[in-house]
Amino acid sequence: MEALMESLFSNVDWTEIGWASWDTLVMVGMSLLFSVLIGLPLGVLLFLFGKRQLLEQPIAYAVLSFVVNVLRSVPFIILLIVMIPFTVMLIGTSLGVAGAIPPLVAGGAPFFARLVETSLREVDRGIIEATQAMGATVKQIVFGALLPEALPGIIAGITVTAITLVSYAAMSGVVGGGGLGDLAIRFGYQRFQTDVMVITVALLVIFVQLLQMAGDRLVLYFSRR
């Protein structure tokens, strides 16, 4: 059995795979955390400033919306490079796993913000009206009614964002970010080591599957409809 593994995956350095997996986990985990921390309030503001919403602000909405659209329309590989000076300013380096996280957040946060905005829009307007009729402040409406009601949608949004970040993180090799995707490109593709390619892609598939399953379970748990 061991001999078979040896011959089939002769190029695979399992320690290397282990480190790459860890790098991917760190990049996705950290960038997801910050994407949610930034994207959630951004999404709430986008929703509140929107047309016929609680704090209707056409100009503020247009500005936020434009920024979000710009960040979302730049291909991630370009964003990674354009962000370099800013990343250095922020964390002192633009290299490695740490250097990959700010561009990942810049790509993930606006994406997640749009998903939050959409799921808030799906909350029945009647619920907002009823809460208003109880004498709630805008803050109370957001935290007491809107976010709890939209929670399943927001969790689904976090899942989608996490999976998107997994695929973005694969490009982080450009700044030496490492991770499974980087391994697949450098060894699997550039050095024609098909076995490395197979293993890394398989691990990525498993990772995405696990994320999706966990997300779906949470959504189900929080759905009371």
Partner: protein, 335 residues
């Protein structure tokens, strides 16, 4: 007391003002059940939302217990809204909260009640609306009638003085409608709170309301005690509503009237006179023969009434009519 003083509301649509409510003045007394009936788009939804300023008026003043609510600032408005409960056609319960948490929600928002106060009040309200066993369920696990009872309990949580009902029974089946209306009636008489109820069903008005306003195209076209408006409708819209609620086919009725002989009278009995054996004795004394063309005996809120359409032949018609009127029966000559 809720006073509308030349209140009007219009919406800006594409730079043009579309009137939803033409200048309206009226008074809703403290402790009464006031119905607003109208077809969809007649402006009744707007009217009821003006009372808690979910829709701010574009003109006029709204006085509640002599205070001009249209002049409130944001925090005064929030404090005022706590004293006005509201229930909705589609219940608008929070699907993420249990029945008990939904009822507690307005009290938590108010931020002036202790945890024990909230728990006790919720228990009391659950009992009041007979939902003690459902306290820990989520709204999706309840029937429509149960959901509306949660809505009512939630609306009562902060002990409001006014309860607004926005088509509260329109999504319910007839039986459930009856039980919800009964609950509203009980609440009104026990707590003495003012209820303003909008509906498109005259039957709802007949069962629970003391007074009614009929709306058509953004205007109140008829207003008065339910028994007056219901038994003697004047405006065509009101007549439509009454006929609709009694399932009367107007063409058929006309045909019946054409075939009948002699005089045709419509008699309206109200209250005690409904139970008096009157027709037989009047017929004997005046020698008039009668046949009943149509009739209905029912209740308006708690008052019994009867309305009969008769054709009368022979005898002394004037004596008969005088005898009926003397017995407090309202007599209309239809032909």
């Amino acid at each position: 007391m809720i006073v509308f003083d030349q209140v009007q509301k219009s919406y800006q649509v594409g730079g043009r003002a579309i009137p939803a409510l033409h200048s309206t003045s009226m008074t809703i007394e403290t402790g009464e059940v006031f119905g607003i009936v109208g077809h969809s788009g007649a402006g009744k939804s707007t009217l009821v939302r003006l009372i808690n300023l979910l829709e701010p008026p574009t003109g006029g003043r709204i006085l509640i217990d002599d205070e001009n609510i249209t002049g409130y600032n944001a925090s005064e408005l929030r404090a005022f809204r706590r004293k006005v409960g509201m229930i909705f056609q589609h219940f608008n319960l929070l699907s993420s909260k249990t029945v008990a948490d939904n009822i507690a929600f307005p009290m938590k928002l108010a931020g002036i009640y202790s945890r024990t106060e909230i728990r006790e009040r919720v228990d009391e309200l659950l009992k009041r609306v007979s939902l003690v066993d459902q306290a820990n369920k989520y709204p999706s696990q309840l029937s429509g009638g149960q959901k509306q009872r949660v809505g009512i309990a939630r609306a009562l949580a902060c002990r409001p003085t006014i309860l607004l009902c926005d088509e509260a029974t329109s999504a319910l089946d007839p039986q459930t409608t009856q039980s919800v209306l009964k609950l509203l009636g009980d609440i009104n008489s026990e707590l003495g709170l003012t209820i303003v109820l909008i509906t498109h069903e005259m039957d709802v008005v007949r069962r629970v309301c003391d007074r009614v306003a009929v709306m058509d195209a953004g205007e109140v076209v008829e207003m008065g005690a339910v028994s007056d408006v219901f038994l003697h409708p004047k405006h065509p819209t009101t007549r439509d509503f009454v006929f609709e609620s009694e399932n009367i086919d107007r063409d058929e009725m006309q045909q019946d009237l054409q075939q009948a002989k002699g005089r045709i009278l419509r008699l309206t009995f109200r209250g005690e006179s409904t139970y008096t054996p009157l027709l037989g004795s009047v017929a004997r004394e005046s020698g008039v023969d009668f046949s009943i063309l149509s009739g209905r005996i029912d209740h308006i809120k708690d008052t019994p009434y009867g309305q009969l359409t008769l054709s009368l032949v022979g005898g002394d018609l004037d004596t008969a009519m005088q005898a009926l009127e003397a017995a407090d029966v309202h007599v209309e000559v239809l032909r």
